[in-house]
Subunit: 146 residues, 2 copies
DNA sequence: ATCCTATTCAGATTTAATCTTAATAGGATT
DNA sequence: AATCCTATTAAGATTAAATCTGAATAGGAT
């Protein structure tokens, strides 16, 4: 008894709670990101819509991503360069990243204890945690020789 | 018996380990950031040098900040807008941030257990942790009513 | 059908960060 | 001290990311 894959329910719920509409464009963007297996940035997502039937403007993409973050459809990710990267929260669930400052390699890691501690800390401040960005920078195994 | 305040020893050590020189400009930048009590971004730091005796170019500031991060003189911080923020690691030591997505308020928090778990996770991957960026986004106490 | 508000589009604009080329600094060599 | 050599910096141009602007559209309410 598994929930249907890629249900927009959480997204729709968030929109409703904010008095926003589940528009054609928001549907399209939800659908696209919820099927993306790799990480992506706002602009590359925009490029994906070019030439696919109806166009979706860059601005709409940029405006929709924070809503998807907030509804836990996507999470912050990491990638080369200075853009902000995202990725859908898929079967493997939420995870964070280590980035090698020498070769750029990205390692995914999960730590349930850190997640819990984060939540606990937030509660201490009466802060309602929505999403987070946690990236570890350093040197990967292969780049440490010499 | 306290260590001298704002010693460039760690910074100089890092430079040496990389075969880089402790130049006049790097001294100036070290000195400036090690006395800054507030967070700052690269560009505002650059502006500080304008009109102060010898100029330091924007590019030099941008190139020096990662070295200061790496030598633990500064850490990643958080602030309004999309710039990258930094702050010196002062008496209170390292800490991370919660950012309210409604009002922009920034709350500092410390969690020794999270720091340790991070380090442990890094070790699992043979990853040598240098610095990190950990930001929690959500809604602060005051913005949760209604 | 008309009105009203939210939303979107398209492209211009802004702004952050990096790149380019030439100049400079400072150590090593003779 | 003069020359050479490499790292570093300056200044401003360039690139690229993200947001803004004004007009157009959508879709629900009256």
């Amino acid at each position: 008894m598994e929930a249907a894959k890629h249900s927009p329910a959480q997204f729709q719920a968030l929109l409703e709670s904010k008095g926003l509409k589940y528009t054609y464009e928001r549907k399209m963007i939800f659908d696209e990101v919820s099927h993306l297996k790799e990480h992506f940035d706002a602009d590359s997502l925009y490029e994906r819509f070019k030439g696919k039937g109806r166009r979706i403007s860059r601005d709409t993409v940029y405006r929709t991503l924070p809503l998807l973050l907030e509804s836990h459809v996507i999470q912050k990710s990491a990638g080369a360069g200075k853009r902000e990267f995202f990725e859908r929260i898929g079967r493997k669930g939420h995870h964070d990243h280590m980035i090698c400052i020498k070769c750029g390699k990205i390692i995914e890691f999960q730590c349930e204890e850190i997640e819990k501690l984060q939540e606990k800390k937030a509660q201490e401040f009466g802060f309602k945690l929505t999403f987070h960005d946690h990236r570890l920078f350093g040197t990967c195994k292969d780049c440490q020789h010499g």
